[in-house]
Symmetry: C2
Subunit: 216 residues, 2 copies
């Protein structure tokens, strides 16, 4: 017997729920590169029919988060070194611009929030929580970029993150982390100083650093 939905709860469609959950899993590296998925499997996991599963998958394929074999099988991306370099270059281009646009609007409260997120990152390092590390690291960047008031650029950056997601965890394994990324400190001090050139350099460095581990 169906129970009435509490009227305050925003009705979120089934495919939206499937989409959001899969998207987060991919972006935060909870799926391995090249991992195969099936529509019926996804549908069963979320206890919905194939239709919403198909829509969610289509959407993720369109965003480059999943790839479609010629016969229609879906799997997460396996990136070539060239593709990784390209995506890192895109991150660099767009994120430097976003940071630059956020700078004039970055007040103390924002910098405090970023500081707090940086501490969360430390926790994930101590707990060796790869997925949590990726999530809070991206949260650091997203919090800053949100201030740029540039939704299209932010969306584009997030689709790049999405494409890098499964591969990023592989990176985490090779990384001997002892704390938050070193360049986050530089980003914070450049923000405090209102120093745009330093900020651009710090963001570019932060975005590009991980790349080296992946391409060799």
């Amino acid at each position: 017997m169906l129970v009435a939905r509490p009227k305050t709860e925003p009705v979120t469609s089934a495919h939206e729920r499937v989409y959001r959950t899969l998207r987060a899993r991919i972006m935060y590296g909870e799926l391995d590169p090249g991992q195969a998925l099936t529509l019926r499997g996804i549908a069963a996991d979320f206890d919905v029919s194939m239709t919403p599963a198909r829509e969610a998958v289509r959407r993720l394929v369109a965003e480059g988060a999943l790839s479609l074999s010629s016969s229609g099988r879906v799997s997460t991306l396996e990136l070539t070194p060239e593709r990784i370099e390209e995506l890192a270059a895109l991150r660099s281009l767009i994120e430097v611009e976003l940071a630059s646009r956020a700078l004039p609007r970055a007040h103390f409260a924002l910098i405090d929030r970023l500081q707090a997120i940086n501490n969360t990152i430390s926790d994930t390092v101590i707990r060796k929580d790869a997925s949590g590390y990726i999530r809070s690291n991206l949260e650091f960047h997203r919090t800053l970029y949100l201030r740029a008031q540039a939704p299209a650029m932010l969306a584009m950056t997030e689709t790049v993150w999405l494409q890098l997601g499964p591969t990023m965890r592989a990176l985490y394994g090779r990384l001997k982390r002892t704390g938050p990324p070193q360049y986050h400190r530089l980003i914070l001090s450049a923000l405090r100083a209102g120093d745009e050139p330093s900020l651009r350099l710090a963001v570019r460095s932060d975005v590009t650093q991980g790349l080296r581990l992946l391409t060799n």
Copy 2:
């Protein structure tokens, strides 16, 4: 009675056909900004069921080519001036990089092809063919960027074109064109000279010029 498909023809799924056609119509400005579409209408137009129509629309929504109202109605984008500025900035960032990467690989044959496309653009100006103008203008850029061997960047650029599509025709109306964009000449001479700084400037100017007409 069904006729056997010629075996050489690549079997392209129904939703792919719908997707490609709609995508081209949007990118080349054949649909007005804010134009409403219905799944059943699209399905009828292409003589398919609602399923492929839904998938094609979902895909285009994911790429930002179409927007979904809260109740799920789909329509093309109506861009605010701020959004247009943002998209132009994205074009500038990515296309300058693509041009820069294409430069070392740009041989005579490529420059000849670009020249030929430029002539096609002249034809569309004479014929006052707005959609053809947009199509061949983008073809000019795509042909150059293809040489950059950077598929992810090119794909990202194309989704920006897609978002600007319906609005670009509005631009065309305000433009008193007498020939190909002036900056195309600069792009070509920079390519011939192998002059990267000039090329970057020319591409940025070409991409940004139209913007001014749209934001005031």
